[in-house]
Structures are given as C-alpha cells and as structure tokens.
Symmetry: C2
Subunit: 245 residues, 2 copies
Amino acid sequence: MNETIEGILSHYSVREFTDQALTKAEIDLLVKSAQAASTSSFVQAYSIIGVSDMALRESLSEIAGNQPYIIKTGQFFVFVADLSRHHKIGEARGVATDSLSSMERLLVATIDATLAAQNMAIAAESMGLGICYIGGIRNDLAKVAELLRIPDYATPLFGLTVGHPTANSAPKPRLSSELVYHENQYQEKTMDDFIQYDNTIRDYYSARTGGNRVEGWTDQIERGLKHSTRLDLKSFLESKKLGKK
Amino acid sequence: MNETIEGILSHYSVREFTDQALTKAEIDLLVKSAQAASTSSFVQAYSIIGVSDMALRESLSEIAGNQPYIIKTGQFFVFVADLSRHHKIGEARGVATDSLSSMERLLVATIDATLAAQNMAIAAESMGLGICYIGGIRNDLAKVAELLRIPDYATPLFGLTVGHPTANSAPKPRLSSELVYHENQYQEKTMDDFIQYDNTIRDYYSARTGGNRVEGWTDQIERGLKHSTRLDLKSFLESKKLGKK
C-alpha cells in the first residue's frame, strides 16, 4: 500500500485545532490541489472563499450551531457551487443563460465543488493538517450568502475547516463494503443486513464515551429522520436562480 | 511537496485503456478508499455499482454518447446518491421519511457520493491507474436506473472509468487561482479577467491539435450554454422521490 492510500485510509475528522494560522504558501498549495481535480466538461463551476476575518468566522460559527473549530483553526474555507462566471460569459456574448437554472447545472456545480474540496482535504491531511467538513452552514444559507457576498447563480455548499490538530484520533468504522458496493446491479438490503454494523458502531461509541453513548448506526439514522432540518434549501436555491427547472 | 500532493497535481483524464481488468484486490482497495471519505453526519448516503458485465457496459456507453473507454477499461464504476437505506430504516422504525425528498437530502447524498468518488480517483491514480469521470450517463438517467436496478430514493450521478492507460498525458491548465479563490468575500470578475486564461487555453488546444482547435475557455463555456442538455433531470429525480421540496 502506498503513502497516498495510507493517508486516505487514516482519515478522521478533527474538531480541535491550535490557533496557528495556515501560511499563505500552505493555502496556495491547498487551492492549487483543489483546482487540479476533475471538472465536468471543464466548466470549473465552483469558487472557494477563505475566511480569515474573525468577525466573519464568528458569524459563520453561530450559523453552524456554535462550532468553535470554525473560529479556532488554521483556515476556514467555504466551497461554493458557482455558475455566476458562466452567467457573465453568456450575458457578454448575448447567449441565453436560462439553462444555468436547471437541476443538471446545479448538480454539475455541486459535484465540481465537492471534487475540489476532497482534493484539498486529502492534500491537507498529507501535510499533517486536520480537517472537518462543516455542513452546518446550510442552517442559514441566505445569511451565509449575504455575509460572503455570494452572487446569483452561485450558492455556498459546505465549509471545510483546516488546521493543526491538538490531538490524534482514529478512523470511524464504515458500513461493510457489501452494503455499499454492488456488482453490476443494485442489490437491496434488509434491516437484518445492518445488525452486525449496528453492533460495531455501538461498541465504537461506547468505547469512546466510557459507555455513555450506546447507539447503533440505524438508531442514528432514525434520529436524523425525526429531526430533519434545512427544509428551506430549495427555496433559497431558487432565489439564487439555481435548480429551478 | 509530498508524494500525495504530487499525485494530485499530476492529474489528467485518461480516455484510452488496455483491456486488462482490475483485480478483485484492486477493486476492494479502491472501494475501501472511497468509503474512508468524510460523510455528512455519518449518513453514508451513497452506493457504488461496479459494472463488469460487458452487455451492461455497452448499454451505458451508448447512453453516454458512445464512449469506448466505458467498455474497454479496467472497471467501470457508477456512483449513486443513495437515501434508500435511510428510507428502509425509517419504514422499519415507523418514522416519517418524507424529509428524504428534500433538496437538503439530495445535496447531502450528492456530496457524500462525490467525496467517495474523488477518494477512489486519487487512490487509483496513486496505483498508476488512469481515471475519467463520465457525466454522460446523465443523458438518460431513467434508462441507467433501469439497467442497474436503482431503487427509489436513489439516483445514479456519474460514472468513473478506471484502468491501465495506454499512454501518458499532462494536466490541463486551470483558471488562475485569483479567479477561483476569494479572501473573506466573493469578488465578482469581469470578462477582461478571463482574457489571459483564454489565451492560455487557446494555446493549449492549438498545441495538442496541431492548430486544428483554436478556442478559449470563454468560447467553450459559450458553446456549452448554446447546447444545454439534460433538462429532464429534475423530473427524473422527482420520479425517484428526490429533491422534490
């Protein structure tokens, strides 16, 4: 197994960092790594906002549910699905741009932004830095878009906090590959197929919390269904002229 | 610069492979690498279909616009945004599952699937394999879903072809980082900001085609706007109970 795959398989999310800021050279290398990812038909339909301003970080942290690792970190990045450059080009050339509001284009921009983000995450970890994705900014995307001055035809998707970790941890066990990987055609699973994994996850949480948290994966998913949030996302995206048709 | 970042920065898409199939050990390692990626609130909302069946590959290639590198390759993977496991858990526990049809959940599953895919892509390249993402399967997702027996609450997103390349190539120049990376707040660009990059891309295509293709990036984007496709994606997703609200 090579160094790159070893790094990939050692991933865990980091939620406590020193306050050491990333250097400009580190940020440049991370952005360059992000940009090297594949992009659908070369559209490069994303932008990255690096948030170093502490007042902005505090506002974003509040939106995400008061996560301190958005403030105390090396750098906080926001990944943006961005078709606004394409809109500008269409306008300048007198070409119809209404297709930018299609679901296809929203997915293309979301996929482009995510490929870039994961490149950055892997690059950061290979440099000895820790990372955590922050979906919490979707608690109030309208506010995030206002704070970061995101134009129409673009939307923030998630944050990525990158910094110097204060401690080490270990990867969390994933679903067994038989539950995720299918040969040639999708094979539907039954609840029984999750029993073993539920036990694994129950043991994992129990060991990490001294027995305080005893919850299987299916329990966690059930809890998520009971407390579903961010149901205003569709109307926000439509206000940004995205995914409308 | 370490080996992992060197690999990331050397990426280019490969569109011609030998017919040497990936081994089971290689596929296992690629799937394990994919699964090691971050996942939103640990929902693991994706599946991967490995298509080795030649008749299926031929059908998928036809859908994608007759791309031979879907057929002649080491393995062809289809990445699926997959909330069907969550739906099954909700049903078994008697919990409402209508939130799975929200735009938030569609984005979460799309982001999860894409993070996993990019892990696989980087792992594959580190093993000396070549990769190419295949958005072309979105030309007819209903047909792809039928061929691969994708259930409700799930949708194919894109393919990833992985194999032994027949030749080497070199990375394609990206937008300059100033056009993609913003400090603290989004800075809108003007058409003038793209002039230099247009020249770079024009030279790149010209050099690779012996002067036959002379097109800047903005020209390419303009062409894409004129020939927008896949405008039926929203209704397909809704038929799979995804992104409806």
